[in-house]
């Protein structure tokens, strides 16, 4: 084994563990932020400031009884959470999170801070995202419960509707950067305009960024677009019949998807690991800060806005977001054509 290969394998493991623990960290952050916004205390008993609460939750989940409705389809019922969790982790594989490093000269050629450098990375994220729908849909169908089924159906309709706007927002960035490789797109955003304004695509594509963030919330089924699991109407939606670790896998998938969407948004619109003050080799710190900011925004949104009505969601997706995305893409293409990007 060459040192580069060892480093690559170690990096892959590191990303996996980091994603797992980010889910736990997000659960804690979510509860603390929610409590703060609602003038409560949140978890504070387990560990200092309640920091060990996620661990306690995991242990609790592991010791719960695994239930399966008698009329459920056993194979698909077991498969659905696996699809959800796998898709969530797979998508992150193509996301770069820092410039290359030689690990203080140990490696001869720099190690890219990314699990897999694919030249159609954006499309891979899109494809894996479209696969993750199946986890939810199948969970809804195989549970053989009306709440689950309605949750699954709503989710598939929602994801199909918002995937289009999501794709159009991505296409705007592709037109400007002229590449499908995320590393190229991030490198395209290095440097500044007029000496102070960073060359981030959010300043070139502000509408695209808004569309991307909105569609991203809908894709990850977060409030205010959390219809697949709207408690008041559907008990818990597609995962009503799930318990114990199977439930935990859906939960994990939701938080990992959040991290992935935030990381992709950072790479596409916020300049990835580019930022002032830090040397390029420490760029991943900027990346983490930016991703953290977007995640905080997600949590903030969830506890601030009430859930929309389902028909409002559909009308917004098709009649506002999608036309806006098309106009944005056309304007971007025209701009690139006439100004020469």
């Amino acid at each position: 084994m060459t040192p580069l290969l060892i480093a690559q394998v170690a990096l892959t493991l590191l990303v996996f563990v980091a994603l797992l623990s980010s889910a736990a960290g997000l659960v804690y952050a979510e509860r603390k932020v929610a409590a703060r916004l609602q003038q409560r205390l949140g978890p504070y008993l387990v560990g200092p400031r309640g920091l060990l609460q996620p661990l306690a939750d995991i242990v609790k989940l592991m010791f719960k009884e695994e239930l399966r409705p008698r009329a459920a389809d056993p194979l698909l019922f077991a498969l659905a959470p696996v699809i959800s969790a796998t898709a969530a982790f797979t998508a992150f594989a193509v996301v770069p999170f820092g410039a290359g490093t030689t690990l203080f000269g140990w490696l001869r050629e720099p190690l890219r801070l990314q699990v897999a450098d694919v030249n159609v990375a954006i499309l891979v994220i899109f494809a894996v995202g479209s696969m993750s729908v199946y986890g939810i849909v199948l969970a809804g169908w195989s549970s053989n419960s009306k709440y689950s089924l309605l949750g699954g159906l709503r989710s598939s309709a929602q994801m199909i509707s918002y995937e289009l706007s999501y794709g159009l927002a991505l296409a705007g960035v592709l037109v400007v950067s002229n590449s499908l490789r995320l590393t190229d797109i991030v490198n395209h955003q290095g440097g500044t305009w007029f000496g102070f304004l960073p060359r981030w695509f959010v300043f070139v594509q502000p509408v695209g960024f808004l569309i991307f963030m909105t569609a991203g919330i809908a894709e990850t089924n977060r409030a205010p677009f959390d219809f697949p699991e709207a408690e008041q109407e559907l008990v818990a939606g597609y995962h009503t019949e799930y318990s114990s670790m199977n439930f935990a896998m859906f939960f994990l998938a939701e938080y990992v998807n959040m991290v992935t969407v935030s990381a992709v948004a950072t790479d596409l619109f916020l300049g990835g690991w580019h930022g002032p003050f830090l040397p390029e080799s420490l760029g991943w710190i900027w990346f983490l800060i930016k991703v953290g900011a977007i995640l905080f925004f997600y949590i903030w949104m969830r506890w601030t806005l009430p859930r929309y009505r389902y028909d409002q969601l559909m009308r917004f997706g098709w009649k506002v977001l999608l036309p806006l995305g098309v106009v944005n893409l056309l304007a971007t293409a025209a701009g690139v054509l006439f100004l020469g990007a």
Binding site: V120, V133, S156, I160
Partner: protein, 175 residues
């Protein structure tokens, strides 16, 4: 080469199982698996763009709609056709058999023709690498612009037709 056989076998087996299933949901899932294997074959052909598009369009978008319809209609398990009068039973069975034989002969001939015809116009792709996205885009909008536009008009017609057919007549409903 090993990967080719793995993906090829997966695609063939999954496709065969699609029609061997009683439960339509399983058929849909196996079709997705088959598309996934096809996509693997495209990657082996060094056409990653086509591979990913295969997943996004077929395995993602179209199959979700399939699944959606199957779940909405709540299609039941297919029961054995012994007692149920079906299309096959109502038509004369001999006629169906004859049609089937004719169809397989035609397909077999086509397969032989395709395998024996090395290179030629169908095999070679006009100019540019299939791997590059910009090459595909350029070809689609120059050399193949007309077929491309015709296809999109065709899809548009189908879409308008579906909307017209599905729309309830407001005059009849009285509002």
């Amino acid at each position: 080469m090993l990967l080719f056989y793995v993906f090829g076998a997966a695609a063939v087996i999954a496709s065969l199982l699609v029609i061997a299933q009683r439960n339509p949901i399983y058929s849909v899932l196996l079709l997705i698996a088959s598309f996934g294997a096809l996509s693997g074959l495209y990657i082996l052909l060094e056409a990653p763009f086509v591979a990913v598009i295969q997943i996004i369009i077929y395995a993602g978008a179209i199959m979700v709609l399939f699944l959606f319809v199957v779940m909405l209609l709540n299609a039941p398990r297919e029961e054995t056709t012994e007692d149920v009068p079906t299309w096959a039973a109502r038509t004369s069975r001999a006629g169906v058999a004859r049609f089937g034989v004719a169809l397989s002969i035609a397909l077999g001939l086509e397969l032989v023709w395709a395998l024996t015809k090395h290179g030629g116009e169908s095999g070679a792709f006009a100019g540019g690498s299939v791997a590059s996205v910009s090459a595909i885009g350029r070809l689609l909008f120059t050399r193949y612009a007309f077929p491309f536009e015709v296809t999109s008009v065709l899809i548009l017609i189908a879409m308008v037709g579906a909307v017209v057919l599905a729309r309830r007549d407001p005059a009849k409903e009285g509002h």
